[in-house]
Amino acid sequence: MILSNTETIPGSEITRHIGLVQGNTVRAKHVGRDLMAGLKNIVGGELRGYTELLEDARKEATARMIEAAQIRGANAIVNVRFSTSAITNGASELYVYGTAVVIA
C-alpha cells in the first residue's frame, strides 16, 4: 500500500478512484504520564510520553485507514490528511483520511 499526501503518485497512473477512506482513534493518557507531564510543566521542554502516545495513536488510525482501503481493493491512498481534536478533557481524537485509488 502506497501512501502519499500529494494528489498524484509520480511514475504511476491512477486507473480507478475508489473513494474516501478514513481511520480514527480516540486515546486518553494515563495517570503516570500525566504526573510526569506535571513535573515537566515546571521546567518546560518536550513531553515525551505524550509524543509517543500520539504517535502510537496516529499509527493505529493510519492502520485502520489502510485496512479500509484494502477491503475495497485499493493499492494506494493519495491526498492523505491528518487532523487532531481534543474531544473531552484528557482525550484526543486522531483522524486520518485520504482517497483510495488503484494505480498501475
Binding site: 518536550e46 505524550y50 500520539l54 484528557g90
Partner: protein, 146 residues
C-alpha cells in the same frame, strides 16, 4: 507567605533549567538541520515527474507550557504585545517536528520531501484547567521521494 516562596522557587527552577535546555536544544537543532540540508523540502502539492515511489513521513513533538513562561505571559497579556518567549518555543517545536520528519525521510533514503504540512493541537486540557499548564502538539507530515 509559604505559597509565595514556593511559587518563587518554581519560577527560579523554571528560569535556570528552562533557558539552559532551550539553548542546548537550539544548538542541537542547528546541527541536525545542517546534516539534513541536502534534502529538498517543499510544500508543493504535485511531485515533479521521474522520481521513485513515494512514502508518507511524519514527525511530531509535544511541548509543555511551563510555569515560568506562563507567568511571564500572563503579565504581558495585561498590556498586550508580542509574547516572544512563546514565539521562540513554538518555533523550536515546529523545527523539531520537521527535523524528525526529515530524519525519517533520510532513513528511507529519500532525496526530496514534498507537500509538507503542519498541524497544531492542544493536549492535556484538564491540566490546563487545573492551572498546571498542559501542552501542545506540533505535527508535520509530507511525502518523501527518492
Amino acid at each position: 507567605m509559604y505559597e509565595l516562596g514556593f511559587s518563587a522557587l518554581l519560577l527560579i527552577i523554571g528560569v535556570i533549567f528552562g533557558t539552559r535546555a532551550q539553548r542546548k536544544h537550539i544548538e542541537q537543532l542547528d546541527r541536525r538541520e545542517a546534516a539534513l540540508s541536502y534534502l529538498v523540502v517543499t510544500n508543493l502539492k504535485t511531485i515533479p515527474d521521474g522520481l521513485g515511489q513515494p512514502l508518507l513521513v511524519t514527525g511530531s513533538v509535544v511541548i509543555a507550557f511551563d510555569y515560568f513562561r506562563r507567568f511571564i505571559a500572563s503579565i504581558i497579556m495585561l498590556v498586550g504585545g508580542n509574547i516572544s518567549m512563546y514565539e521562540v518555543m513554538l518555533d523550536r517545536a515546529r523545527r523539531e517536528a520537521l527535523v524528525r520528519l526529515l530524519e525519517q525521510a533520510d532513513a528511507a533514503g529519500a532525496r526530496e520531501v514534498h507537500n509538507v504540512r503542519f498541524e497544531f493541537s492542544r493536549v492535556g486540557s484538564s491540566a490546563q484547567q487545573a492551572g498546571v499548564g498542559g501542552g501542545a502538539e506540533l505535527f508535520a507530515y509530507g511525502t518523501a521521494v527518492r
